[in-house]
Symmetry: C2
Subunit: 161 residues, 2 copies
């Protein structure tokens, strides 16, 4: 089984796939008499012409590395943001599109305090926390379509540090 090494999650490396949501660098503005920094409007949200934004809560089973990745999915009708509700590392796997199928998989380790927003249509693995409680807020499209494509990886790949 081929092995894919994890990379640190950085805004530059992740830009083709989406946005990193974090308090990095100086805030865009200071509010509340200086008591709060605001990193403003950091996600390229896209819910399509017939969708709307929703906030859901996900709680997923923590996984271990090395991790066997056997499925990618994507949401053709909208972006999807994952906001960790705990200060833990977590794993995110993505791939560029190559003619309707995923291209080479990349794996990122999000540091504590880092969320992501996946651009509409980005191939990605299912939510993979590395620690309990595995709790995330998810901002994605609410609409009437299934908004899901799945692509089994055969053979699977191994994600390792």
């Amino acid at each position: 089984m081929s092995v894919i090494k994890t990379e640190p999650l950085t805004a530059d490396a992740f830009a083709p796939f989406g946005d990193v949501l974090e308090a990095a660098g100086d805030p865009d503005l200071l509010i509340n008499a200086g008591a709060c920094g605001r990193w403003h409007d950091r996600a390229r949200l896209d819910f399509g012409p017939d969708g709307r934004a929703g906030i859901s809560v996900f709680r997923a089973t923590p996984r271990d590395l090395p991790y066997r990745l056997d499925l990618l999915e994507r949401h053709p009708d909208g972006s999807q943001a994952f906001i960790p509700m705990a200060q833990d590392e977590w794993l995110i796997t993505v791939a560029p599109d190559a003619g309707g199928a995923p291209g080479p998989v990349r794996a990122f380790i999000a540091a504590p305090g880092q969320g992501v927003n996946l651009l509409r249509g980005t191939w990605h693995g299912v939510l993979t926390p590395l620690h309990a409680p595995g709790l995330f807020a998810v901002v994605d499209r609410i609409g009437s379509t299934a908004n899901l494509r799945e692509f089994p990886l055969d053979p699977p790949v191994t994600i390792a540090r």
Copy 2:
């Protein structure tokens, strides 16, 4: 100075002010072959006719209890959700509207894993984490208006457990 005692944050108690975002009770659906619960579409989002959803990151100075509350604010043009990115308690203060000014203040302690979505126009205090890092994702209205009203509390009130 009058003293307001904190209450635990529950969906029922908070309903007039907004939504509690949490993985409480059974999930609305199981996804990812059963590895993830989804508590679906839990926020009454409202960005008005001319606004859109945005995700920002806030980092605020932690406060202590008792806490002196001397200002409430509200956003007339949109809802505002606060999603804690750490497993810590935090404080949220709100008030009903009473003819354009805040009515009696209520104070809630959010447990670890609880976020909130404030309904459009809800009077509330500024973001008040009780622990470092004081990091939150905020889903609120992006638009061209100031979308802010402030109301100084004179005299201030004290929030205490």
